[in-house]
Symmetry: C2
């Protein structure tokens, strides 16, 4: 058992600051452990008592004559470090620090908290907190928390592991769940995260045999890589992860590309990380709980065909609208099934959504007969059953639940969600029967949408392992011009326009002849990056005379610009034919590192914010997904007489570029390939313009 | 009292098919009327009884010796028409027909229903139904329904008038509302709408003194104009309308413009009608009820500055995110207020959202002190108070409610929404105190969003009355070429390119000289509408030789196309300068009539579906709103060194065009001005190409 496991699943618990008063912070965990059946050792510690609730009480952790898996510190902040030090000396494996007054109160508290972190590392003790509500493990009967949420009754057990960066938020969700008869395997509030963070907890839950679904509430993370790895571990263990992430990182995207900085909000980076790792991001607390609950109860969804059974035609249409909006199919009821339904109830609406009408109240077997007829057809992958306010009808709800149980058992591979207004009693009856019930039709649709997303992700090819090969850029210029950028990209087999850099008029004439007219001439200077704005781009050059004239003009512009160094004039082929313009870029997120971005070229990328993003690197398959995700991607497909564009080659280029920026790590500040011309299928792509900037040498050295 | 008012607010009710059994369809309304204190006359009618529940029972409506405001028909469908006929003969003012078996069962039922409609018109009797659940008026104590939703308790009263096209849906919402202690003024289920439709009911509720908010559930309407007028009436009475509309009209947009047919889903037309009339469209049942409830309880929102009070920092951030997403502002707490808060609770988060922390449980006056300090600053227009699971704490919830009541009374102009998990008891306590409470933070944001929308709409200039002047198109061609379309538009002062139609080479040369080079030449034939596809457009014509050559070529193309008639060659100025391309069109919705559409030109309109739509006519102000609503409208503003475009003139043109299509009524099948070039500010716009098609003459005659 490692020390993290000792925390989550302990056999011995010391409570430092223990109290016989179950209303006190040091009294609650003791009371919970005793009342809710913890069968390990409990060591109350408080110099004021010899004994508490029948247990020997020790004056000091150092006096405890046995090994301790978890020590809970429920003391004023002033004595926390001293006490923690003693725990470390004793060999305690893990510590939960309830006490507030650390990182959250400012600089002085932050220093104290850093000391906790230091001691933890030195002694290899794992720490939850400080300033945390603690944790509990329902299966184990371990309650290391002073929260009042479990004061009145023992928590219900389920396969949901829940980690929250906020105690108050966690308590709220716990209580909301309790009201809906939803339990948990583990509840963990991480507080200030001096040591253990949300990623550690996800990692533990990913491996925990009592947990099948992981719910996490996130406000911010320090180590993006660690969080992404924790999500990957959950994926490897086939456990769905549901996240509710609030707040926007303040750090912003200042170091990102000049063109996309205003578009790429950092919340979009989190969105991207969630998507890339198959995490369902909930937008509301209800969604967070509904999806978590559904994922913990329902079988995997094998396809996207939904049967809707309703007692209200109107709600049936509402469900149909919303399901269709989530790309579900509502296949028509097979004719033979329709006949069966008509025979049972001539006034029924037999088209899917299937309207059972108010007759459900008068024909006791109607629901079962209808569901059996429809589901036995094999044409459906999931079902939603809308029962209106049936949940309030105490004479019939037991029968309804029995029917739904029977259907679930007979069709165990078909996820089934009931929707009804519930009383507390019916809610409990549904829960005890293991039948998923929600209060609102829309919420059922969201639950199925999440189930589909989990399944799609599960079936997607696993992320390719990619070996980072750090590229040393110490000897490179900090700013690469278009020419320098493309020379650099070419080394990695990225396709660029046919071009050469002319330092002299003679070279310009020679290269022009070699490349062939028409040409584009561009003045290069690392000090002038917005070439068009400065008149450094000449299009459609047709003759040697024009080459000479433009070479002279471009060189003059640079020579006359203060501090601008003349690198040369780029002699470049002018592209012809049918192509689409795209934009590919790199932006460095302060938390998650290099992100690759794709968008349609032109002003539309900024006006319409139509971009797609992933953490680098991506495989060509993922790159293609990125492209197809663009709203404007239709333009790349065969469309209005225009031939389809070479999306395959574009995807290869994006993938290669993403590997490159990944290998450049933090040294790359920004890169911007804009435009990339995408030709017809099989005709490839060409990078027409580009820019890269790197950290300054001295920055590289100090980092 | 007109006959519609007699239905909603009757003094005398006959129940045909009355029964002493309160479980029977004919027994329920009688039972409800008697139990819930209807103080008008009740006439049970049933040949089987002499007396029911102490009331004289008549064998036949014709025997009732007094005038009858409402007769309820609770009989099998076979005898409904005969019975209805007798009611009409008796002079009954209105009839509610519960019986099913009419329009909903197919052709034969539809014929019977048409007979009901016919008799209703002949005798001027108003009819609700058939196949309807009926209605009730809580203030009046009138219960003309057989619904079981009011079986167990008398409905609660409020200022919410609710009309539903579906009885089952209405019942569900009623029950959901009842569970949240929300009542109604009127509940009306319209059933098959043989006579009275949802628009009639909205109109009644708009004028009803007991109703301040109108909630309507809509599946489809026959008469769009009537519905829009009902919404306008509600607006004139300053009553917010909330709609939940399901389903998509099947009729589709086949008769709409060739280019936009695929874009303009008819649900978007409903969306447009709702928006144009200030109706809040709810997407879910929860939203429908939450917004209705909030609108019935809260004062108008004077601005968009929200103060958030929370016991969980996390939920505070969630609320801040979501409020910001709805364009609310969360102004920073004024420094002097921050000091006051810090003095009360040093650990509080004093920045808005304001974190009161768990200390709310230990400091009894914390909530009041904080709210008073913040709201008295005058910097906020609304407040959300998140109390976590405070609603379950029976020892403290009364105090919280008292505080919120006090704050509401002290700041009556500041809408205030509390959020907490409730028990049935606390929900009732909130309701009795008149304090708006919702279960989820997101739902509070939606409620405020709707309140803001109502206020914005209330303050918007009233829709201009527009006198329709029907334009007779009987003598016009059914298909107008670009030339014909623009000649037609020019009569209404719409700006077109400088152009003339040349029938001969000579004319072509002459007009070319008059207009000046460069020119565009286009071959005109009413049989060839896609000119570019057929090679009928020649751009950049620079000389007389080119004019001659192209005239000959274009004429030849048309002459060689089977059945194509040569109208001439259009000699047109070729526009220069900086302009943006837009698209303006008309599409005829089968329900709501002519709609005007605006979008950015090019392929982006179809790829990105970036269009904006209104029912015609629109004022220049509304037209400008349409333009600014486009995602791509940024392109029309000063942007990236490009000058701002003439949005004012564009808006004038859209408004004029919208009046024109409105006056053309159903005669116009489609029109499509594409592109319209919009020049720099003050430089106007020009319609460059266009198309109009009208109904065939014989169609016009028969219609």
């Amino acid at each position: 058992m490692n020390n993290l496991e000792a925390l989550f699943n302990p056999d011995s618990v010391a409570i430092i600051g223990a109290s016989p008063d179950a209303k006190k912070i040091g009294g609650r965990p003791l009371s919970y452990l005793q009342r809710y059946g913890f069968d390990g050792k409990i060591y109350p510690i408080n110099p004021k008592y010899k004994e508490i609730n029948g247990l020997t009480c020790y004056p000091d952790i150092l006096q405890v004559p046995a090994s301790v898996d978890v020590a809970i510190i429920a003391l004023p902040s002033q004595v926390v470090i001293e006490t923690f030090q003693k725990c470390a000396q004793h060999g305690v494996k893990s510590v939960v620090i309830f006490s507030a007054g650390f990182g959250e109160i400012g600089e002085s508290g932050k220093r104290e908290q850093d000391e906790i972190t230091r001691i933890a590392k030195e002694y290899n003790v794992r720490v939850l907190g400080p300033n945390c509500l603690g944790l509990f493990n329902v299966e184990k009967g371990f309650y290391g928390t002073f929260s009042t949420i479990i004061e009145d009754e023992k928590p219900l057990k389920s396969s949901i592991g829940f980690v929250s960066q906020s105690g108050a938020f966690g308590s709220h969700v716990f209580t909301l769940a309790r009201q809906q008869n939803i339990g948990f395997s583990h509840f963990i509030a991480t507080g200030n995260e001096a040591d253990i963070d949300v990623a550690d907890c996800i990692e533990f839950l990913a491996k925990d045999p009592n947990t099948n679904v992981i719910a996490c509430y996130i406000e911010g993370v320090q180590d993006g890589e660690k969080l992404a790895n924790a999500f990957q571990l959950a994926r490897n263990h086939q456990k769905p992860v549901i996240a509710l992430k609030v707040g926007r990182t303040e750090v912003g995207m200042k170091a990102a590309m000049s063109h996309t900085g205003s578009i790429v909000g950092s919340d979009k980076v989190f969105d991207t990380i969630f998507k890339q790792n198959g995490v369902f991001r909930a937008n509301t607390i209800d969604e967070f709980l509904d999806v978590t609950y559904a994922a913990s109860q329902l079988p995997a969804m094998q396809g996207n065909r939904v049967a809707v059974f309703t007692i209200s035609g109107g709600v049936g249409i509402l469900l149909a609208d919303q399901l269709a909006g989530q790309q579900f199919k509502l296949p028509e009821t097979p004719p033979v099934v329709k006949e069966r339904l008509k025979a049972i109830l001539p006034i029924a609406g037999t088209q899917n959504p299937i309207d059972m009408t108010a007759q459900i109240s008068y024909l006791p077997t109607l629901l079962e007969d209808f569901m059996e007829a429809v589901l036995s057809s094999g044409e459906y992958d999931a079902s939603i059953i809308f029962l209106g306010f049936g949940g309030l009808k105490h004479d019939s709800i037991k029968d309804r639940i029995a029917t739904l149980q029977k259907m679930r058992d007979r069709y165990p591979h078909i996820p089934q969600v009931a929707v009804t207004i519930n009383s507390p009693q019916s809610s409990q009856a549904f829960s005890e029967a293991g039948v998923v019930v929600l209060q609102d039709p829309t919420r059922a649709v969201t639950a199925l949408k999440a189930m589909k997303q989990f399944e799609v992700f599960k079936k997607a090819p696993a992320t390719q392992a990619f070996q980072k090969q750090y590229l040393d850029t110490t000897n490179m210029d900090t700013v690469l011009t278009e020419y320098g950028t493309k020379k650099f990209l070419q080394q990695f087999d990225l396709p660029i326009t046919n071009e050469r850099l002319a330092k002299t008029e003679q070279e310009a004439i020679q290269y022009a002849t070699e490349i062939g007219y028409p040409l584009v001439l561009k003045g290069m200077s690392p000090q002038i990056l917005h070439k068009t704005d400065e008149g450094l781009v000449s299009l459609n050059i047709q003759s040697e005379e024009q080459v000479i004239a433009e070479f002279t003009r471009l060189k003059k512009v640079i020579d006359e610009t203060a501090e601008a160094v003349f690198e040369g004039v780029l002699i470049q082929e002018m592209l012809k034919g049918e192509y689409a313009e795209l934009f590919v870029g790199a932006t460095k997120d302060p938390i998650f590192g290099q992100m690759v971005i794709v968008g349609m070229g032109g002003i539309y990328i900024e006006v319409l914010q139509d971009i797609s993003m992933r953490k680098a690197p991506v495989s060509p398959t993922e790159a293609k997904e990125m492209v197809l995700e663009l709203k404007a991607s239709k333009i790349l497909q065969a469309y209005r007489g225009m031939p389809a564009k070479d999306i395959e080659e574009l995807s290869q280029v994006i993938a290669k570029f993403s590997e490159l920026i990944f290998n450049l790590e933090d040294d790359l500040l920004e890169s911007d390939l804009n435009p990339i011309m995408v030709f017809g299928e099989g005709q490839g792509v060409k990078i027409v313009d580009g820019l890269m900037t790197f950290k300054k040498q001295n920055e590289l050295i100090t980092n």
